[in-house]
Each structure stands twice: as structure tokens, then as C-alpha cells.
């Protein structure tokens, strides 16, 4: 994929991340929870996965954060060294991490939404 396309996708992910992360932090801190320990209770956490709107929020947050984070890591790694071998190593590492993080995260959301 062209670098400019990757960067454009990154901009979209950044905007999604700004909104969803702010909401996510607010929900953990003060929206509809009583104290920090209350926000971490099993029933509260599970309710977040069961409710379609907040489950969608988690899914968008997961995809946006993973893309943005790994895109940033890729940029840093590609600035450190150059060359075809390094390129392949960086691409492989980033894609591998993406599969693991998105795979496990989406599995959690789907399984918890469907009824854990």
C-alpha cells in the first residue's frame, strides 16, 4: 500500500481515537460508575461488553488504537535503519503484532457480547 494511503488511514484512526479514548476514559472514571473500584467490578465491565453501543465503542477504539500505535512504531523503526531486509522485518513484526492484538481483542469483544 502507498505510504500516503497509510498516512490518510492514520488520520482517520487518530480522529476516531480522540473521540473513543476520551469516552472510554470518562466511562472508567465518572460516567455511570461509583468510584474506580466500582468501574472494575465484573458486572460493570461485562455490562460494557453486552451493551451494543459501548461494545461498538470498544471495537472502534481497539482498531484505531492498534493501527495508530503500530503505525507509529513502524515509523520509528523505519527511521532507525533502512534497507530491504529491515523493511521486511519491520513489516513482518508490525503485521504480526496487529494480528495478535486485533485477534485477541476482537475475540474478547465478540465472546463477551455473545454471552461469556
Amino acid at each position: 500500500m502507498r505510504e500516503s494511503t497509510l498516512q490518510l488511514v492514520n488520520y482517520v484512526m487518530v480522529l476516531a481515537l480522540l473521540v473513543t479514548l476520551a469516552l472510554h476514559l470518562a466511562m472508567q472514571a465518572f460516567l455511570g460508575v461509583s468510584g474506580y473500584e466500582g468501574a472494575l467490578s465484573y458486572s460493570t465491565a461485562l455490562a460494557r461488553y453486552r451493551e451494543p453501543l459501548s461494545a461498538s465503542l470498544l471495537a472502534i477504539l481497539l482498531v484505531a488504537a492498534t493501527y495508530h500505535g503500530l503505525f507509529g512504531l513502524r515509523n520509528i523503526l523505519l527511521e532507525m535503519r533502512s534497507g530491504p531486509r529491515w523493511d521486511r522485518f519491520v513489516t513482518g513484526t508490525v503485521l504480526g503484532l496487529a494480528v495478535v492484538m486485533l485477534g485477541w481483542g476482537l475475540r474478547t469483544i465478540v465472546v463477551a457480547f455473545g454471552g461469556a
Binding site: G69, R81, S82, G83, A116
Partner: protein, 155 residues
């Protein structure tokens, strides 16, 4: 890129290791606010990525039932973990707002008009708009620190 293309490092013969080069880049003068912001942006970004990686697996225990979840959350309810979470909130706040500044810069907003270079030369890289966003990022990160302490320690 075809294999026949030799990397710049290989062509020149690498003179110093990657870690040393990064360290030299980060701390060698001249140090200015913009470079410092980039350094904090990178460090916080990498920290947040590491946190995200583990966060995905920690929250994954929600599918293993209440015993596994409560056991793990009980382990994480300690002052050391709270300090880590505080760093995440402060880092995310600074990274987010400073990121907006970088985004606007990349979209050529807030850059200003070029001026004739007269002596004494003034650094033009951080205009008024940009500088104010950077200060906002610092202030908001400070407020996030206070809010985090209040929420995490229930003050």
C-alpha cells in the same frame, strides 16, 4: 525495494549502534521546545503501545468468568499499578493534544507566512498558535495528573 539496493548504513559502514544514535539524537544540543515535545511524544507513544498490548490481554479475562476477572483486578489494585495507570492517563492526554498540534502542522495549518530572514534570526518553527496548543497539552496533562490521583486514590 529490490534486494540489490544497498541500505545507506551498509553503504557508509555503520559507525555507531542504533541505541547510541537514538540517544545522541535525543539529547544532543541544540535542545528546544519542539524537539522536547517530539521526544515526549515518542516516549509516551511507545509506552502507550506497550500498555495497550497488555491491556488487551488483561481485559480478555472477562470471558473467563468472575473469579478470573476479580482475581486479576485484585492484583492490579495496588499503589504501584495505580502509578502506572496515572502515567498512562497523563501520557495519553499529552500525546493526544500534542498530536493535534502535529496533525495541524502536517496539514500546514498554524504555520504562518514566511518572513525575510533578518538578523537576529528567530526560530519560526513554533508559531503562536502551535505554542499555545503545546502549552495546552502540558496544562491538560497536569490536570489529568490531578484528576487521576483523585479518582485512583479516591480522594
Amino acid at each position: 525495494m529490490p534486494d540489490s539496493i544497498v541500505s545507506v548504513e551498509a553503504a557508509r559502514g555503520r559507525v555507531e549502534g542504533v541505541a547510541k544514535r537514538q540517544f545522541r539524537w535525543a539529547f544532543q544540543p541544540p535542545m528546544n521546545l519542539e524537539k522536547l515535545a517530539l521526544l515526549v511524544q515518542r516516549v509516551s507513544g511507545l509506552g502507550l503501545l506497550v500498555y495497550l498490548f497488555f491491556h488487551i490481554f488483561v481485559t480478555g479475562t472477562i470471558t473467563s468468568g468472575p473469579a478470573a476477572w476479580d482475581g486479576l483486578m485484585g492484583m492490579l489494585l495496588n499503589p504501584l499499578a495505580h502509578v502506572g495507570e496515572l502515567l498512562v492517563v497523563v501520557g495519553a492526554t499529552f500525546h493526544g493534544i500534542n498530536g493535534v498540534r502535529v496533525l495541524l502542522l502536517e496539514l500546514t495549518a498554524l504555520v504562518g507566512h514566511p518572513i525575510r530572514p533578518d538578523y537576529p534570526y528567530r526560530v519560526q518553527s513554533l508559531g503562536k498558535g502551535e505554542r499555545s496548543i503545546l502549552y495546552t497539552a502540558m496544562i491538560m496533562a497536569g490536570l489529568a495528573l490531578i484528576a487521576g490521583i483523585v479518582i485512583l486514590w479516591g480522594l
